[in-house]
Symmetry: C2
Subunit: 324 residues, 2 copies
């Protein structure tokens, strides 16, 4: 099977929204009047972002999910994506389930493949995703990292630390009950992009980011770009992980580590003024996504961690760095 057969067999489908899809030099895409494009690009490398043993179906899901998560963080509605793929060889046994996993998630979000590239090389998956953000009176409704205000509540969606917990099992450093491990593994291998929540938070959240490198590290990006600080209840996030692991006798510090700096969570971290608490609850309800208030934005710069009793905790967490 050659390059063009591979594309033809597994990656070419009729376009629905795009003016022109796979098969020409460029795809053509036209935003609806009164909207702008949100664009994000993520590259996944074997051994770095996924294990070589991962099920290709799940990998297809994850490769698109991490990109959709960026759209979610902007409050954008997914429209389309390009896929560039380096493969060691043109292998139908790999490409078929990969494409199935990819398209299952794409279809669930009405997001279509409009182009890309296929080449021989060490396994590398690069997706660029396009979403739509409305303009209201000429103003973009995109959620940005830069809008957090002192006094805002700080929220996270879902739970954090699960993916890291699964990774620790794979590394042989943690044992979990089978059902707990399967749930954590599913969160690591097939994260759920919080697209509906992101869209529901337009006009409510002042700032948002998706958690990919660890909660505190990604919060740091929001604080830096917004010029503010924050106080975070470390145990709200940690307690959920510990409860899920059914291992409450473990050292509390470990759960904190994984919840606060575990990475690969693809949950949304966002800020909203206390006056919007009902609106946040309504957004969580309408998007069927759990949301937890876990801190507040301060005028004073810096990040302050406290435990459930309000006692200060040292912040020794660092964000994931691909070259560190």
């Amino acid at each position: 099977m050659g390059e063009f057969d591979l594309i033809e067999r597994f990656f070419k489908r009729p376009t629905r929204q795009a003016a022109l899809g796979v098969g020409d030099d460029c795809a053509l895409l036209q935003p609806a009047p009164g909207t702008q494009f949100a664009i994000s690009s993520d590259m996944l490398v074997e051994g770095r972002h996924f294990l070589s043993t991962v099920d290709p179906f799940k990998l297809g899901h994850k490769a698109l999910a991490v990109n959709l998560s960026d759209l979610a963080a902007c409050g954008a509605r997914p429209l389309a994506f390009t896929l560039a793929l380096a493969l060691p060889r043109a292998d139908a046994a790999w490409a078929a389930p990969f494409a199935q996993g990819l398209f299952a998630l794409a279809d669930a979000h009405d997001c279509e493949l409009i182009g890309g590239d296929t080449t021989q090389g060490p396994l590398n998956i690069c997706i660029t995703v396009f979403g739509e953000v409305p303009l209201v009176n000429g103003r973009s409704q995109a959620l940005l990292r830069s809008g957090a205000q002192a006094g805002d509540d700080l929220y996270i969606s879902g739970t954090v630390g699960d993916a890291r917990m699964a990774l620790e099992v794979f590394r042989g450093k943690l044992a979990l009950p089978a059902a707990v491990f399967e749930a954590a593994r599913s969160r690591m291998e097939q994260p759920t992009p919080r697209v509906a929540l992101g869209m529901a938070l337009r006009g409510i959240a002042t700032a948002a980011i998706d958690i990919s490198d660890g909660l505190l590290g990604d919060l740091g990006h929001v604080l830096k770009r917004s010029g503010v600080g924050a106080t975070v209840d470390a145990d709200i996030a940690a307690s959920r992980v510990a409860a899920r692991a059914q291992c409450s006798d473990r050292e509390q510090g470990q759960w904190r580590d994984w919840a606060l700096a575990g990475g690969d969570d693809y949950e949304l971290l966002f800020c909203a003024p206390p006056s919007q608490r009902d609106a946040v609850a309504a957004a969580a309800h309408s998007s069927q996504t759990a949301v937890t208030r876990m801190g507040r934005i301060d005028a004073e710069r810096g990040l302050r961690l406290v435990d459930a009793a309000g006692q200060s905790l040292p912040n020794t967490y660092v964000s994931f760095d691909h070259f560190a």
Copy 2:
């Protein structure tokens, strides 16, 4: 140096056209009224698309050039691009000249970097490029592969076969005078995307494609999508390569091979009706790009090769396939 330092130091610059550039979850881009986006994505892998010894400045140029070449083939005006980069290590000595080469070409085309990704991994460069195509009375002015008509003239821009000639020198299979080799090497390492020509051909050319996998192979895509055939004068393309190589005593067949199936040319192949010959000449003149008529489109399917004397030649050429 970490991931974020690398981005901050070498890849973050103020945006000019985009509503939001590097540094948030998504970039925001808004097309001008009456236009649509042309989008293309290309992935370059070490050892496959470039030699490991290549000058990073030239590689920065080439990575963007091959993407701009796709916009050129659509007649699109470059606007912006995303860059996803897997690097074995965060190496400033590599990243600095790479970024310089990239931005030198980007600036020449007023095309800005709006986002992307950086990760650790085997060297891999994935660029997704965005261009603008006007709509006239609601109709896209994009040049497509599918519009060729029987009776159309067939043209190529510039020269083909140079990159392949340089590659044969690197492979030790060809010796060339130093100046000829340097010229060919420059064509291989720093191809010129024919953006101005592509834009000038809007409304004139019936179909276009950029030549990346070899002239005849890429022509095959046009013929297939347009449902037509073609007759190509093999020696028009070949004679130019032979003349440049200053080796007219070489076997003619070899020059033909390199011109017709060499690959990595990044020239435009396009079709236009004979009634548009003056308009094609004017587009070539205004874009300062040489254009050569080298065949015609036939109603009869299939590709027919003839030599300078009009004699039939066997077509044994195959298009470059990354997995063949």
